[in-house]
Each structure stands twice: as C-alpha cells, then as structure tokens.
C-alpha cells in the first residue's frame, strides 16, 4: 500500500453500509434452486439414449461390420493407423514444432488386427474353418497378409452396398472367412465382453478396445450424424433429442467449423492448443491490457451501481 501507485479499490470500505444477512441469503437461494431443479426434472426428465452393442452393430449393419473388420487387418482403420497413445503406426498430430502426441508415447498399447480380430477368432475353438483360416493367415508373411486384406477391402468397397455376397472373385486368402467368423461371433453377443480389457481377468472397467473398434465403423457415426452430434455439426455442444447439451463448449465447437481448422489434419491439436491459450487468457483477464479496460469503456457498470451513483454522483466518463 505504500507503493507509488495505490489501487483505489484495495482495502476495507469506509463508506456507507446497508443491512445484510448472509446466512438467510444462502438458505433462500438453496431452497429456490432446489425447487427449481425439482420442477425442471419433473417437467423435462433427462436423456438416456441406449448404448450401441457390438452385437447390435453386427446385426443391423453387417456389411459395415465386415468392412471395418477387414480394415483392421489391412491396417487402414482409424485405430490401426492412429499412432500414439495406441500404437506406432503414425506420429499423430502436432502444434507447429510441438509433437505432444508423439512425445507422450504409446502408453495404451492397442494392436487392432490382433486385439479386435485375431485374438477373438482364436477363442472360437469349435469352428474348425475359422481356426484353419486364422492359422493360414498367421503362417503367411506380412506382405501377403496385407495383400489379401487390401484386395478384399478394395473388392468390398466396389461391391453393391459393400455386400460380401456380391464381391468379385479374387485372391483374398483366408480374410473373408475370418471376417465372416468375427461377424458371427459379434452377432452372438460374445464379442462385446471379449474386447473389454479385463485387467484383472474377471472384473471389467476399461472399454478402450471395444470403443475404438466401434468407432472405427460407420454405424456409430451414422447414428450420431442423425442426432446432430458430429463434429462438423457443432456436435460437441449437442445432446440427443431436444435436451440442452453443453452450451458452454460453444467456442471450442466453433473453431472446428472454420478455416484453417475445418480443413486441417491437425485440427484437434490446433484447436486444443488455441483453447488452452484462450483459457489461460480468461484466467489472466485482470492483467491483459485492453481487455481489462473493456468494463470501463462500456456503461454496464453504471447500471449495476446506478442507485449509488444517483445518490453520490456519477464518475466522469
């Protein structure tokens, strides 16, 4: 306080006071907000769109399921080409020279071909055809595996509606048998629990693998698109049905809609970097020249304190 520039607002108020009851204010507010919450809950309830199972995916969209399975084997799915923290198949996104994704490393190892396809198929011990297909696939060199899976993926994409039954003849090795084997496993419901990472062997709490596999397909995204939840639909703010979502994410959502972010392959890294900077700026508003002066230039504060200014005189503009 003895410094050259004394902040006129620092210290205890010595001017006029008015009666106030802090405890009463708190209790009244608590009762009012509790009642308002109950009324809103009774009026509007809350959304609960049931989750998608792998079983449901395999039954409702078998062609998409087959195509996704083949893309895991071909190494072309989102997960298979993801990079850190799941695998080394790419370096991930970067913010200029900052390779944060790569530097954090591969800490949640996921090998989509093995984890989503081959390991579950190995459990189908009663199915000799599937076991023979897996053995043939594993015995082949990596280049041969890639060629089979790549050729079958191409053929599926050219078949009407991606229907495996209408694929042109070709050398796809054991890949079609493996894909239809996994489809059968998923349609039975068995794959849902098999993909969960059972860290303790029995209890399950980590859904990284089934979620990655589900998100590699088009089925989940199509459902989300229909509910206006996609990234390019301002989806982060939205909720299923007509419920309010997270409107406080409007600025974060906004960046994904505009250039350069909307066309960048580094959009996530850039938007997150920008939002971290802007969040820091929000915290540091009192120290940012220009921004901290906005309140003095806008007359809103004169409305807040109008009764005081009316009685004691208004400050100069």
């Amino acid at each position: 306080m003895t410094a050259g520039r004394v902040d006129p607002a620092a210290g205890d108020w010595r001017g006029p006071r008015r009666p106030y009851d802090l405890v009463k204010e708190f209790i009244v507010a608590l009762v009012a907000v509790s009642l308002l919450t109950v009324v809103l809950a009774l009026l509007f309830s809350s959304p609960n769109e049931k989750g998608v199972t792998l079983e449901q995916w395999a039954q409702k969209a078998p062609n998409d399921f087959i195509a996704t399975t083949v893309s895991e084997l071909a190494g072309t799915s989102t997960s298979a080409s993801y990079g850190p923290p799941y695998n080394h198949s790419s370096t991930g996104q970067q913010i200029g020279p900052l390779h944060l994704q790569k530097w954090a490393g591969v800490r949640i190892p996921v090998d989509p071909a093995r984890d989503f396809v081959i390991s579950p198929l190995r459990t189908m011990t009663a199915d000799a055809a599937v076991q023979a297909a897996v053995r043939r696939y594993e015995a082949a060199p990596a280049a041969q595996q890639d060629q089979w899976a790549g050729a079958y993926a191409d053929a599926l994409s050219k078949a009407p509606e991606g229907d495996p039954a209408q694929v042109a003849a070709g050398d796809y090795g054991p890949v079609p048998a493996m894909a239809s084997g996994l489809l059968g496993l998923a349609q039975s419901g068995a794959l849902d629990s098999q993909l969960v990472n059972a860290g303790t062997g029995f209890y399950q709490a980590d859904y990284t693998k089934p979620l990655l596999f589900l998100a590699d397909g088009g089925y989940l995204a199509d459902l989300a698109q229909a509910q206006h939840l996609s990234g390019n639909q301002w989806g982060m703010m939205n909720e299923t049905g007509n419920f309010p979502g997270q409107p406080w994410l409007w600025l974060y959502t906004f960046w994904y809609q505009v250039r350069p972010f909307s066309t960048s392959t580094n959009a996530d890294a850039l938007v997150w970097g920008l939002m971290m900077l802007l969040s820091l700026a929000l915290v540091l508003v009192p120290f940012i020249p220009g921004v901290r002066s906005i309140p003095r230039r806008l007359p809103l504060y004169r409305l807040v304190w109008r009764s005081y200014y009316r009685e004691h005189g208004a400050p100069r503009r």
Binding site: A29, S45, N48, Q101, F287, E311
Partner: protein, 224 residues
C-alpha cells in the same frame, strides 16, 4: 514473528496452535467471514448469481451423492434412479447458467480491481474445472452419449499428449475422476474463491474511493 499483529493476539503465539489460530483470525476475521452488513453499493440483482451458482453446486453434489450411494448402474435400471439423474442434470445446467451470468457480471464490474485478481483467477479456474467435471459425467453415463462423446473427445485429448495418461475410454478411470477427484478440486476452488471474496470484500464501484467519494462527481456528500 517479533511484530505485534494488528489484532493484538501476540500472546497466543507461544504455541503452534495459538500461532495458527491467531493467523487465521487475522486473515479471516469472523465479521468478514459472516457479515451482517454490506457496503451500500451492493444493491443489484447481479450480486445474487454467485450464491445461486454456489447453491446449484450444492444440489449437484447432493444429487450426485444419491447416485453414488446406489452405484453407477442404478439410474439405468430404476425409474427412481432416472429421476435423481434428472435432478443431477438440471442442477448442472443451472450451475453453469448461474456461473456464466456471475462471470459476465463480474467482468463488466471489473471485479478484479483492488488486489482482487486472485479472486477472479480462482473463479475462472473453477469454471474450467467444472467443464472438465461435467464432461467426465457425460462419459460415465454408460449410454450412447458416453460412447460417442468419449470416442470423439479422445482425438482432441490425445493430440495434446494428455490422452496417454488420462484415458477417456477407460470407464473406471473416468468414474473415479468424476465422483472423487474433480468434485474435490471444484469444491476446494469454490471454498478458496469464497474465502477470497469474504476477506477482501465486494469490489467498490468504478470511480469510487474507499471512503465512498466519487471521483470527479459534483460535490455531493458521500458520508452517511
């Protein structure tokens, strides 16, 4: 320690406990903590949004605790549970609603004046921490929202490198963050924020000194 504090409680400082008590009372005098008067300028509806946000947070915590009592799947299988989930959702919407209006109000009052920057900063960090807490809530609903939001959000979080340590696809990890770590962080921030408000008092109007005089105003008597 050789200086006599303003409150004259130096005699109590021969023990650690006495020292802590004296320092606490010096820093937060009870009449500041629980005031029964306010400066005359605290007379606008904009001042109620802080306490509204606080009480909405209390409702968020109580409804969350009821869900915690029954476990994470209760609201999926019980209509009573679904109602408590509705209470939880709408109190969260109210919490953010009141918090944002409170933030707007404090911005346009330049409420960081008078060495109150730390009050603003703890409030802003509370807002950011609340966003994280609400986000993890969406992840642990075990429904379509959780599946879609987690698989979308992983890309952003992975791009920062944080995803390698904080796995939004790991239900167990997110559940514990949502029901324990983040609510604790938000609660501590709110307590700090309120203690700062109470110790430094409500910021005076722009252009008014601590004696209540308005700078440059026509000579009106400011004293009561």
């Amino acid at each position: 320690m050789s200086q006599t504090p303003a409150s004259g409680r130096a005699g109590e400082r021969s023990t650690w406990t006495g020292w802590l008590r004296a320092h606490t009372l010096d820093a937060i005098p009870p009449e500041h903590l629980l005031p029964d008067t306010q400066p005359a300028y605290v007379a606008s509806w904009i001042y109620v949004f802080g306490v509204l946000a606080l009480t909405a947070f209390v409702v968020v915590c109580v409804s969350g605790l009821v869900i915690a009592l029954k476990g994470p799947t209760w609201w999926q299988v019980s209509s009573r549970g679904h109602f408590v989930n509705s209470l939880h959702l709408w109190s969260v919407e109210l919490f953010f609603f009141f918090m944002v209006v409170h933030l707007w109000g404090k911005f346009f009052m330049a409420a960081w004046r008078g060495r109150r920057a730390l009050t603003w900063m703890t409030g802003a960090v509370t807002f950011l921490a609340s966003i994280g807490t609400a986000f993890t809530g969406y992840l642990v609903q075990q429904n379509f929202d959780s599946q879609w939001i987690s698989t979308q959000a992983k890309d952003g979080i992975n791009a920062t490198g944080i995803g390698a340590f904080w796995n939004v696809l790991d239900f167990g990890q997110m559940l514990l963050w949502h029901v324990a770590l983040l609510p604790l962080a938000v609660s501590v921030l709110i307590v700090l924020h309120i203690l700062l408000v109470r110790t430094s008092g409500v910021v005076p109007p722009i252009g008014v000194d601590l004696d209540g005089r308005v700078e440059g105003a026509a000579a009106k008597e400011a004293a009561p």
